[in-house]
């Protein structure tokens, strides 16, 4: 018996967890000594949905793995048949209850091995399987860590839904056994257990909390469209808006009328089910654009989405992208200037030291100054001039502006004689102004005549000719 055991334990591999070393024997075990891992994250959620029960049997798992639904198992089976054997060792741990070895890593391979044997797909295929045995004493947490290292941090061969479902189940477990601990603490604990980043755990928890909240965890939609829900639940911008719109009172303050609670979440779930639902990245970018726009007070695209049941692509089309860019650009600068990120002392130093930099700042200054004041300035100019509303004094001597205006009007008349060119007219009227002969009343008379008769008054023509002669 001892000899046999020695033969089996031909090698030992070391596993390091939390600063401790564990000797894990590499063994050959008969496949009948192995059992599927009932808690296998890979198919736990899917199998549960498939059999509609929490009490899943070993037979259920084998049936499921070898069903046409699991294409991955078919692919692996084809590879093994092609290679003639299994190339990767399984990781197992003794189950004290069943006295069998639970396959922690390699359940799909176990299904393949059993199928090969059952259907005799490879001639003389060995019934013994190469395994690495984790010590029985290794705690659940440490097994979790090893699994995480394999699938969540390392190989990442599980889908995001599979790995996050596993993380979430572990989260619920630790939550029950550590009810006094805060969510942040629990996530930190799990991150340590999995040897992963807290952000990764947080992401998984948020996604599955969303699925749970909307009864999607059990549904086919939840796993099939998981990437959408994961994105939605973890986008800070979207969640900020969702928090407001999901609450009817807050939504009303924002100017959006909603009938029920969770209107934003429901809208999204509905969208995900649409035939024309865009790709996750597109829907993410568009919804973020709609939310950013709403956050900046431009609520119409969001209203369209929530109140009018429009598609996200239609709602995003109503956003003025150029406008959003401008707002985002200046918000960023404003934030930087208001915060401590920019040292004004450094700006002053740079202005003194670098001419090119100074020129750029001057340009920006002029540019922004013009944006602020130029539209008003140009908008104020009416046909009567800026000071049209000033009290009219007929005896008051005309201004140079009135002289220029008359020169412009008369010089543009098609019937004006050659002597009445702009410069001459301007010179003449300025001279009249200087001699205090051109009054407001006279200006009005000339202007009205020109506008009515479309010609230069004869007395002006005569006076100009006289003026030119004296010049």
């Amino acid at each position: 018996m001892k000899k046999q055991q020695k033969k089996e334990e031909f090698f030992v591999e070391k596993q390091y967890v939390d600063g401790e070393r564990y000797n894990c024997p590499l063994r050959l075990l008969n496949n009948t000594e192995l059992e599927f891992w009932l808690d296998n994250p890979r198919f736990y959620e899917t199998i549960r949905k498939e059999f509609d029960t929490d009490k899943i049997t070993q037979e259920d798992i084998y049936t499921f793995y070898t069903s046409p639904k699991v294409s991955m198992q078919r692919d692996l089976l084809a590879n093994i048949v092609n290679d003639g054997g299994v190339n990767e060792r399984l990781i197992v741990q003794k189950n004290p209850e069943t006295k069998k070895f639970t396959v922690i890593e390699g359940n799909t391979r176990l299904a393949c091995i059993r199928q090969i044997l059952a259907q005799d797909l490879i001639k003389d295929f060995p019934r013994d399987v190469e395994v690495m045995e984790l010590p029985e004493s290794l705690s659940k947490e440490k097994v979790t860590y090893i699994v995480g290292r394999y699938h969540i941090v390392g190989k990442k061969d599980w889908s995001s839904h599979e790995s996050n479902a596993y993380v979430y189940r572990k989260y619920i477990e630790v939550k029950h056994s550590n009810s006094e601990k805060s969510k942040t603490k629990l996530i930190d604990m799990l991150a340590k257990q999995f040897g992963s980043k807290t952000a990764q755990i947080k992401r998984a928890v948020k996604s599955f909390e969303f699925l749970e909240k909307h009864n999607l965890r059990e549904s086919d939609l939840g796993s099939r469209k998981y990437s959408y829900f994961e994105m939605y639940a973890n986008s800070a911008v979207i969640q900020k808006t969702a928090k407001e719109i999901n609450d009817p009172e807050l939504a009303e303050i924002q100017g959006v009328k909603v009938e029920t609670h969770n209107a934003m979440d429901k809208m999204f779930i509905k969208h995900v089910q649409r035939d024309d639902c865009p790709k996750t990245v597109d829907i993410r970018d568009w919804l973020i654009a709609v939310c950013n726009s709403a956050d900046g007070g431009r609520i119409d695209p969001l209203k369209l989405l929530i109140e009018e049941d429009a598609s996200i692509s239609d709602a995003v089309k109503t956003i003025d992208a150029g406008r959003e860019d401008v707002i985002a650009f200046f918000n960023k600068i404003h934030q930087k200037l208001k915060g401590a990120a920019i040292e004004t002392k450094k700006i002053k130093q740079e202005l003194d030291a670098d001419k090119v930099f100074r020129k750029k700042i001057k340009y920006i200054h002029n540019f922004l100054g013009l944006q602020l004041d130029l539209p008003t300035a140009t908008g104020k100019i009416r046909s009567e001039g800026r000071r049209g509303k000033a009290k009219f004094d007929p005896e008051k001597v005309a201004t140079w502006k009135q002289c220029t205006m008359l020169a412009t009007i008369l010089s543009k008349l098609p019937s004006r004689p050659n002597s009445c060119q702009f410069n001459r007219l301007q010179g003449y009227f300025l001279n009249e102004m200087n001699e205090k002969r051109l009054t407001n009343l006279k200006v009005n008379e000339i202007k009205e005549f020109a506008e009515k008769e479309k010609e230069v008054p004869q007395d002006i023509i005569d006076a100009i000719e006289e003026y030119l002669e004296t010049k």
Binding site: I381, N423, L430
Partner: protein
């Protein structure tokens, strides 16, 4: 045909005046909204049409980027050389004064600039008479 040529020549002279006003506005490094209003109004008087915001903006930014206008003397020479006829110089002096005083404050650089221009143009008497009146 001659009428069109004359009209184009007048527009060119008036354009030079607008640029001169912009230079005057920029000489103290501060763009005051009253200065902008003055320029927009003078533009209207000279061209008998409203200046479009975009055109005026592009024009101001273009002038502001001119590297050669770093000193008051250079700006004065530039303005003085851009307007040649006596009546235009006279009108331009009035226009420059309007822009200068529009922000209710005569900056030293503006005063220095207009004095230099008036001297170059021979319109110092106009400058003095208007400044004495205000």
């Amino acid at each position: 045909m001659i009428g069109e040529i004359n009209s184009a020549r007048v527009d060119k002279i008036n354009s030079s005046l607008i640029d001169a006003l912009i230079k005057m506005m920029l000489v103290d490094d501060i763009i005051h909204k009253n200065e902008l209003e003055q320029i927009a109004e003078i533009y209207y008087l000279l061209f008998d049409k409203k200046a479009s915001t975009q055109d005026l903006e592009a024009r101001i930014l273009k002038v502001s980027e001119n590297d050669e206008l770093e000193t008051v003397g250079a700006v004065a020479d530039s303005i003085a050389n851009s307007i040649r006829s006596a009546s235009s110089k006279e009108a331009a002096t009035y226009a420059l004064i309007e822009v200068m005083i529009s922000d209710q404050k005569v900056h030293e650089k503006e005063k220095e600039l207009i004095k230099k221009i008036a001297k170059l143009w021979g319109t110092t008497d106009i400058l003095d008479s208007v400044l004495n009146d205000t």
